[in-house]
């Protein structure tokens, strides 16, 4: 077996896994703090990619500024989203939050289809054809950037969650909402920030992947369901669990896809989720909340 082939697969899987992780961590954070399953999460990933495409292609803004703008923009959108729609839900009747975010996803997705049609668009950048070559392993520079961005985002998220007051508050609310409120944590402020971070991560993922895969309105749709499966596998509400499960899934998908026919790849996430639910319903890493 070709070692460089294996390394190639691993690296590809790592990149995809990191992207999965960005999306899944945001989803997990929002669920942990607000108890809301955000059905529209994939649409913000898609919007991030669309925005990146627009900024790069139509406004000729460079790669790094685009990434920064899209991420900040997505976080702002998340903030507005919370204020406008989610704050009134407040955890009462969980079906309402699922259906509301589902409605949002319908608006965004079909709106995008209506505005941009389903034709995928390729985002070209001067770096598109640059590769880093190490022996027989070829890694496109853009993928490496995506990997780097993902790792940077992990570190930033870790620092926020574990080194700042508000991050600790988020973890507190995630584990025990009542107790957190009793010690004076304002759930609104914490929720707002959680949504902003979650959506921001999604947007970042979209912008990072836009030059690598084609941009089209339905790209979020296929990712979000995998993200659901990932957060169940990692443990509902467990952000680091989601990250680990996501990277593992990315690598596994890549490896299996390299050696077996691709038919098996797409169903992997859901099959794994079903197995986990049967054997260990609280997820691989669990949480305070029972599944």
């Amino acid at each position: 077996m070709d070692i460089s082939f294996l390394i190639q697969l691993l690296l590809n899987g790592l990149v995809i896994g990191v992207i999965y992780a960005l999306i899944a961590m945001g989803l997990s954070l929002i669920f942990g703090v607000l108890e809301i399953v955000n059905f529209a999460h994939g649409e913000f990933y898609m919007l991030g990619a669309v925005a990146a495409y627009f900024l790069t292609t139509n406004l000729s803004i460079g790669y790094w500024p685009t990434i920064a703008l899209v991420t900040v923009g997505a976080a702002a959108v998340g903030y507005i989203l919370y204020e406008l729609l989610l704050s009134s839900l407040r955890g009462e009747g969980f079906e309402r939050s699922i259906l509301l975010t589902l409605g949002l996803s319908m608006v965004l997705q079909n709106g995008a289809v209506f505005l941009f049609t389903t034709t995928p668009k390729m985002m070209l950048s001067p770096l598109t054809y640059s590769n880093v070559i190490m022996g027989d392993v070829r890694m496109p520079v853009l993928r490496l950037f995506a990997l780097g961005l993902g790792i940077a985002a992990f570190i930033a998220l870790y620092l926020i969650l574990y080194r700042t007051q508000v991050g600790k508050a988020m973890r507190g609310v995630s584990q025990n909402r009542e107790a957190a409120m009793m010690v004076g944590i304002d759930p609104r402020a914490v929720s707002r920030l959680a949504v902003a971070i979650g959506i921001g991560l999604s947007g970042l993922a979209g912008a990072a992947l836009a030059p690598i895969y084609a941009v089209h309105p339905l790209m979020g749709f296929s990712f979000v369901f995998k993200a659901f499966a990932i957060i169940i596998i990692g443990g509902l509400g467990n952000v680091s669990g989601a990250a680990i499960a996501a990277i593992a899934l990315g690598v596994l998908e890549s490896l299996i896809g390299g050696f077996l026919p691709t038919v098996m790849v797409d169903g992997l996430a859901f099959t794994a989720m079903i197995l986990i639910l049967l054997i260990r319903p609280q997820g691989l890493f669990g949480r305070g909340v029972r599944v």
Binding site: F31, E35, V37, L85, S88, L89, G93, F94, E95, R96, S97, I98, L99, L100, L102, G103, L104, S105, M106, V107, L108, Q109, N110, G111, V113, F114, F221, F225, F228, A229, I232, L236, T262, V263, M264, D266, G267, F270, T271, M273, I274, L277, L278, P281, V289, R290, V291
Partner: protein
């Protein structure tokens, strides 16, 4: 349930008149567009009725319905095409298979939290689509199975009915829809439906009264899976092709809107809204995308402002009327 709008007798009359009119339609027009609308209404009436049973009465937000629909469709198509089964047997087998899957999905996921249940049912539907697309040796993959046979039903006594006109499918699917709705109605207006609603309204209270929530929930899931699968098993012959698009999320979104708008748990509300939402968009000539955007807005609005839908509004009015009546009398504490 007391309907404040009309008496039972008036409602029954309206239903009979409505049915007579519906079945008379093909005698007045051969317009295929109208007949197609009728087929669409019949199909969505069963889809949304089944979802209403599971969500509105049992309180389970399940996204698996489209999975059962497609399973019934594929099973029927495969049995008829590959094993030469008669159509009615294939559809019935599809229904049974769907019911068994419903039992399986229900039994394994009803013990989980409601969030996990929603995600699992969603993943079930997705897995069905993935399998239909990728397991080519079983399902012929993305191309599906085109050119399905024209159904022919043979009755004892030599009569046979070949469904080669749109009107034929209109009668068949409408008849099926009426039968399914009748079953749903019989269940939800019986004490079974009452217990189901009790479980949804206050599960611990129901448990303390001897009601086994799992049993009732499983019954709702399995029954609705059966009916949905049965409908799929026949519908696919109207389409004359089965392919992975039978699992489209579009069906899920549409039936959800119908249930939410009609009022989850309101039999007539959901039936009414499924009629409106089948006819109206076509009359307004919306493209699918815009229609979905509109549905999305309605869903958001509904969740923020009127989660109970039309049926819920009537229910609240009924309760408010009782509040206004002054009470008093001997022994009233």
């Amino acid at each position: 349930m007391n309907n404040p709008l009309m008496s039972g007798r008036m409602r029954a009359t309206l239903v009979v008149v409505g049915l007579v009119l519906l079945f008379a339609v093909p005698s007045f027009t051969r317009n295929e567009y109208v007949l197609a609308l009728g087929v669409s209404f019949a199909t969505f009436a069963v889809l949304s009725g089944g979802l209403n049973l599971v969500y509105g009465y049992a309180g389970l937000l399940s996204f698996a319905q489209v999975g059962f629909f497609g399973v019934g469709a594929y099973a029927a198509a495969l049995l008829v095409t590959d094993a030469n089964w008669p159509v009615w047997a294939g559809a019935l087998a599809g229904a049974v298979l769907a019911a068994l899957m419903g039992l399986g999905v229900g039994y394994s996921s009803l013990r989980l939290s409601r969030h996990a249940f929603a995600i699992v049912t969603l993943s079930f539907a997705l897995l069905c689509m993935i399998v239909s697309r990728d397991w080519v040796s079983l399902t012929r993959g993305a191309m599906g199975i085109p050119g399905l046979a024209v159904p022919q039903f043979s009755f004892p006594g030599g009569l046979s009915w070949r469904l080669n006109k749109p009107a034929d499918f209109y009668y068949l699917l409408l008849g099926l829809a009426v039968a399914c709705q009748a079953v749903i109605y019989a269940v939800v207006t019986s004490r079974i439906g009452r217990a189901l609603k009790a479980v949804k309204m206050n599960e611990p209270l129901a448990q303390s009264q001897g009601i086994n929530p799992l049993r009732y929930k499983l019954m709702a899931v399995t029954l609705s899976a059966f009916m949905t699968g049965l409908m799929g098993g026949f519908f696919v012959f109207y389409l004359t092709i089965v392919d992975p698009s039978i699992f489209d999320f579009y069906y899920t979104e549409t039936m959800l809107i119908m249930v939410i708008l009609g009022g989850a748990g309101s039999f007539w509300g959901v039936l009414f809204s499924s009629a409106i939402l089948t006819l109206l968009p076509d009359m307004l000539r919306f493209t699918t995308d815009l229609r979905m955007v509109l549905y999305g807005f309605i869903l958001i609005l509904a969740m923020l402002v009127f989660p109970g839908g039309i049926g819920g509004w009537f229910e609240r009015r009924r309760i408010e009327r009782w509040r206004k009546v002054p009470y008093g009398g001997r022994g009233t504490p």
